[in-house]
Amino acid sequence: MKRLMKGNEALAEAAIRAGIKGYFGYPITPQSELLEYMSVHLKNRGGVFIQAESELAAINMVYGAAGCGVRVMTSTSSPGFSLMQEGISYIACAELPCLLVNVVRGGPGLGTIQPSQGDYFQAVKGGGHGDYKMIVLAPNSVQEMADHVYLGADLADIYRIPVTILADGALGQMMEPIEFPEYDIEKHTIDHSAWATRGRINGKRHVITSLYMKPEEMEEINKGLQKKYRDIEEKEIRFESIQTKDADIIIVAFGLVSRIAHKTIELAREEGIKVGLFRPITLFPFPSRQLQALSKKTDLILTVEMNSGQMLEDVKLAVNGQTPVAFYGRMGGVIPQPEEILKVLKEKQNQLSLRKKV
């Protein structure tokens, strides 16, 4: 049966159903409902909840608990996510599975509390120090806010990697009907006893660290990480393609913007403009090959984001100059409207046809 829920609360409820046993967080708008939900329901259902003194402390509590091979998570919004970057780098190198949620708000600085996608670089390119990656999932509905928790928790366990759900203030705050899927925690439980620190399992000591004094040794650790990332790129790409088969123009958008762009497609097609939508669901691994294949059959690609053009760089790398790539973005917490995107789309199309005539 479907329930009407806020994105933040749906995500929190899904986390408890997905077997999250520890939540460590700090209040920040627009994700505080998640923290509040966990403070009541996770505790009542046998998990650990701590309101930490800072996001620094929260991410390091995640490190400690994840190091015991227990399913744990934290959630925050942009400024808090910045504070967590140090810990995430350590977690990535020590290869600890955990789920992170960033309900992005407008930045930089203290910014605004309205929705934004300004943390794409930070999440996808690695906001902390060193060569590391996280798996980054971009939901575009309250249903997916929940669904991505199950997926993210599983991927974190399988690859021993931090997984970030990159949402935004609107997805966190808006209400939609959702249904929680059947999920058998037992079946999804991975045995971590080969590496977790729980007190010398089978008389063998385990050490969780990211410190290696010899550069050659550190390079080997890096090679191992890179191998894992290539493996993830091979197996875990997820994307959605809508009405792209006959499209002359393809809009590339993720998260909330993909929902708005969907409406733009309808409006455009009513006017006889054949527009399709390509939506990366995993931002890392980015669906480069799929986008490249699609770009060969289209005249124009329009990337729309709620930032100054961050995913745009990955789109350009994927398209590799084969097709013109245009961009439209709103910043600071402003949400673009479907009609606004349509207008931009027509302008770009005109510019393109003028250029063709010349």
Partner: protein, 263 residues
């Protein structure tokens, strides 16, 4: 373990009684610590206590950033290496998801009383049932002898070339006294390892701290060890211990700061 008696001609070696040996919890690895450094003594005491309380298979330690960053190389127990200053947050995460395990942090003054002050205070304030071992040697040893939050007034370090000047660098912090004020602190003591007697007292303090945790007394047990840094202080090990006994303990007096109320 390497057989050090190999090649030695001695008839009575086999008949002698073993009166002193390495506890099995202490791994047979050459330590990176400088000769005469307090760290190795405290490591040994800690591991003796873990051995004697029979908690090797249920203990998880947290190593900091600083000279003891490699503590896990010497301890035959599960360990996690934490980011600089975050050891008590990491320990909180461990203890809360595995409350029946014994959890301790081992931290220096830069880690615990500078970059990690917030984590230290709030971990104590939450009354986490863990042991914090605090090595106070008044200097950043690992990075080459810079001023620590605990460096005494007038002390020359690589970042206080004319000696620590209170008006410029602030006062040496007494973090043990600060946290003793918090209700979440169950047991707070300050000891040293400058003499055989002091070593025995520190061991007793560690025994008490771990026993508190095992008995689930509730609250942090905090053992500060005023330690030396012969290399950083540019002193011989002997002179550095004398410096502690004659000068440092005037500012950082030894003894219990907070003991559980009886009854």
């Amino acid at each position: 373990m390497k057989d050090f008696t190999e090649g030695i001609q001695c008839d009575y070696l086999d008949t002698m009684d073993m009166v002193w040996e390495r506890p099995p919890t202490l791994l047979d690895t050459p330590m990176h610590y400088c000769p005469g450094c307090s760290h190795s003594v405290v490591h040994r005491l800690l591991l003796e206590v873990i051995q004697e309380l029979d908690i090797q298979d249920k203990t998880i330690g947290v190593a900091p950033v600083g000279c003891s960053v490699f503590a896990y190389n010497y301890m035959d127990i599960d360990m996690q290496q934490a980011a600089h200053g975050r050891a008590t947050a990491v320990a909180t995460g461990i203890k809360r998801v595995l409350p029946d395990r014994i959890v301790f942090t081992y931290q220096g003054d830069g880690d615990l009383a500078a970059i990690g002050t917030a984590e230290t205070i709030h971990t104590v304030n939450r009354g986490e049932n863990i042991v914090i071992i605090f090595i106070n040697n008044g200097i950043y040893g690992m990075t080459g002898g810079q001023m620590a939050p605990t460096t005494l007034e007038g002390s020359v370090t690589s970042t206080t070339s004319e000696g620590r000047n209170i008006s410029l660098h602030g006062f040496p912090i007494k973090i043990a006294d600060m946290i003793a004020l918090l209700p979440g602190a169950y047991y707070v003591t300050r000891q040293s390892v400058t003499s055989a007697k002091a070593v025995r007292k520190t061991k007793k303090a560690l025994q008490k701290a771990f026993t508190n945790q095992i008995e689930n007394k509730g609250g942090v047990s905090f053992v500060e060890v005023v330690s030396n840094c012969p290399s950083g202080w540019k002193m011989t090990p002997l002179a550095s211990n004398e410096w502690i006994d004659e000068t440092i303990i005037k500012y950082y007096p030894l003894g219990d700061i907070k003991v559980p109320e009886k009854g």
